[in-house]
Symmetry: C2
Subunit: 210 residues, 2 copies
DNA sequence: TTAAAAATCCCTATAAATAGGGATGTAATC
DNA sequence: GATTACATCCCTATTTATAGGGATTTTTAA
């Protein structure tokens, strides 16, 4: 099989590892490497790419946004996500953004090849590690099912994580302290958190805030 | 130059990338790969190794402890650390543990080769990214200089992030509530955080807790 | 062995968060 | 026109965290 690959990955060593694996396995394939989202888009505009290996943690952009952008402009390209993070929320976010596979970075080479074959056929693929994560029954404490926040709640959550008190949040948003307290109560309920500490942890771990 | 390398790295792709770089650059060198600290020690007991490329985030053990153990048993081996984390505290911990170089995982291949040449001569080496971090004046908010926590503090920080109150932490660790409060005060000071929310955020963002 | 560092404990107060209620206006959706 | 979601606001009371001190013992390292 001959493909045109694009590896979007800012770690040269990792890019090199994937590159070698791809050219060793799929002889005569082309394999481009981009260290940033910007460079990736430049390459995509100049070359016809079949499959993208996308590191979702890039320095210059957000993985899911880049994924959406690529799939909008080049809907035929298959995108395989590579990530150090295996949280369900990340996986869901990327798959919703149009990715065809999600691999954990500790995946074996054989899994990567299998993923490529699978997405080429039009199917989706998850590495075994990720499948384990996805199959874990959601209980309130494992961050697998994320609460849906309103705009205001997200706003307040960010300020809470920055260490602002209810009064400070109120002043900043020109609302009363009572309102800030109410939103915070709702956040605790939605996340099923015992207190602010757990709330911030869950919010960060789930990727709902940076 | 011919070396005997040992790559201690649990991500096959990364290990593969380093492996290729090493055997391409140092022809006829031997290059072993161990995916865990345990396997690494097994290889070290059976082979004479010159240089170790050590990923400090291993599944089965702590990077600095492994480093100390290796340097104790095999003092002649040069250890080059590879890490995704560039925080000053990590770097200092590893260098104190006997490492000869500290490279960030986004280091260019040329830097890795330079590091090998340098440690072979008996000198220490830091990748440019790390040098920037080390030269950055520590200001409390930029995470480049992370507080160095004691074991007990880390333990308490984890429990705080899980939403436990001082009393609950005290009960869990069989200490008085006052002690838990004291540790927490010190955590706030070390992180320069205004309150628990910011503390948890900074701790998670810096990777000091998961 | 001696000095630091870490872990332990205590005090007084104040500030802030949490728990449990409930209420109102507005905008969008059906 | 009714319903629903959202954002806003208020009350009382309790629990927890924080700020400012300080002190003792055990461990570790020089």
């Amino acid at each position: 099989m001959i493909f045109k690959f694009l590896i979007i990955e800012d770690h040269p060593i990792v890019a090199e590892g994937i590159h070698n694996l791809l050219v060793d396995t799929f002889k005569d394939s082309d394999c481009f490497i981009a260290a940033s989202g910007k460079k990736a888009l430049a390459i995509l505009n100049g070359h016809t790419i079949d499959i993208i290996m996308l590191d979702i943690n890039l320095p210059d952009c957000n993985g899911s946004d880049l994924c959406v952008e690529i799939k909008t402009k080049f809907p035929l390209i298959k995108i395989i996500c590579l990530s150090s993070y295996g949280q369900r929320s990340y996986v869901e976010k990327m798959m919703n953004a149009g990715a065809s596979a999600y691999l954990h970075k500790n995946a074996e080479p054989a899994e990567i090849i299998e993923a490529i074959d699978t997405v080429f056929k039009g199917d989706t693929y998850y590495s075994s590690f990720i499948k384990d994560v996805m199959n874990t029954k959601s209980d309130s404490k494992n961050h697998s099912s994320l609460p849906l926040l309103t705009g205001r709640e997200t706003q307040i959550l960010i300020l809470v994580a920055e260490g602002l008190t209810n009064q400070e949040i109120a002043d900043k948003l020109f609302i009363s302290q009572q309102t800030a307290i109410s939103h915070r109560k709702n956040l605790l309920i939605k996340f099923n958190a015992r207190n602010t500490a757990e709330l911030v942890k869950l919010a960060l771990q789930s990727g709902l805030i940076g």
